[in-house]
Symmetry: C2
Subunit: 258 residues, 2 copies
């Protein structure tokens, strides 16, 4: 299949290289031509352009992998409606494409992709939406040529996946950053927490995070919670209290009790 | 060495079994005699008691492994002052012991220990404090017979380790629980997030959580953040906003900007 990439960022760079192994990426658009060239240099034989009017109209699949709020702008500027158009965003509905293109869909890789960090694409879960059954089947096939785990997800499911990933990964990483800062004030490195994090993840996975919850809030240990809040910066203390209150509410532990 | 355990909970159960392999646990106290027996059944040859006045006064080490706020109460009721007395708490100062016992210290295993879940003790980091150099050396030796990673930590360092562990593990687990709930409303299981969590942890460990931060707040993507908050329950939306604000503040992204 002949594939055109619109966008040359982190997701596009990983996806294009993967797809180029079993299909043919024939063109890469970026509004910065040097970014387009940076990606075509990694591909078998693709043209680079920074002009949307020069997009080849005869490709099989067009993959729009740009910032969420730029997708509709790009769609507006395309001057033909042939081909299968897909985007790769977690939180943008298929509607932004179906308003213009008869054949369209979404290919959402649930992974944090940095241009310069290798990722084993076969382990990345892909979530597929197609405007009709044939399109969905085709996109599932393409995704299965990239990854071992391919799911169907409509636009609502996909946006829930995205917000779950923000909680389970982006926010989690922020808590690790705060833990790292606290550890540094005691002369320790983040790696000192790794064994505990690994067991926590293992328990969350094998049992469930709800059953695996431990710690002062889960026990309702108010003395420790107060002691901890007093040790922390204002912002961290506020966060500590809100997270502890959330845990206590979840397990019906009364904050007034003691 | 002859070791007495005061307490028969999660930490005591794991520690006592480990120590019993290279030393002799001779007695276990619990205020519920059946808990003391449950632990002595797992040991080579230890007596069980529910009476603090029956604690053997001629042991080498007494390990007080009970709830934080019960430690001082127990210390008060002991009617002799010989032996090396240690507790196993992250957030209790050595002072609670040094007020009464000449030789005392702390042996703090940084791990979530559940009675019925096996833990490879050799991978658990231990943090040691001794009231004097000789005591510290002795406790480090004991800890090294249990684990490959043994550190020195004074009471302040230990309490910082504990609060870092609350952020990096207890609170992280709570965010995973919230992610799990959101995923379930979309028909998915928590395991769908595992590849993304593993890469996030890997990046946090190899680079640093501060450099590895990604997501809508890190990008300052207000459209997505607003969209996500609208999808969430009131409590989760509040948490989403506070965590996003924390991330934006950390990376100097202005919330008013757009």
């Amino acid at each position: 299949m002949r594939v055109v990439f619109i966008g040359a960022g982190n997701v596009a760079t990983h996806l294009a290289q993967s797809i180029d192994q079993t299909h043919d990426v024939v063109q890469v658009y970026s509004r910065h031509i040097q970014n387009a060239f940076a990606l075509t240099n990694l591909l078998k034989q693709a043209a680079a352009t920074d002009n949307l009017q020069e997009i080849f109209p005869n490709a099989d699949i067009y993959i729009v992998s740009v910032k969420d709020d730029v997708i509709s702008q790009i769609v507006n500027e395309i001057n033909f409606t042939s081909g299968l158009w897909v985007h790769t965003s977690g939180s943008v509905s298929i509607d932004v494409l179906s308003a213009k293109f008869e054949r369209c869909g979404v290919v959402y890789p649930l992974q944090t992709l940095s241009r310069n960090v290798d990722v084993n694409m076969s382990e990345v879960p892909f979530f597929i939406e197609g405007i009709d059954e044939d399109t969905e089947k085709l996109l599932v096939e393409v995704a299965k040529s990239l990854s071992e785990t391919v799911y169907i997800a409509n636009s609502l499911q996909r946006s829930k996946l995205h917000v779950a990933a923000v909680f389970g990964c982006n926010f989690v990483n922020y808590l690790w950053a705060q833990a790292d800062e606290i550890l540094k004030t005691a002369g320790y490195n983040f790696e000192i927490l790794l064994p505990l994090i690994k067991v926590t993840l293992d328990k969350a996975y094998k049992v469930s995070p709800i059953e695996g919850q431990t710690g002062p809030a889960r026990r309702g240990d108010f003395r420790i919670m107060q002691f901890h809040e007093e040790m922390l910066s204002n912002d961290d203390a506020k966060l500590y209290r809100i997270l502890s209150q959330g845990i206590m509410k979840k397990y019906n532990i009364d904050y007034e009790q003691d």
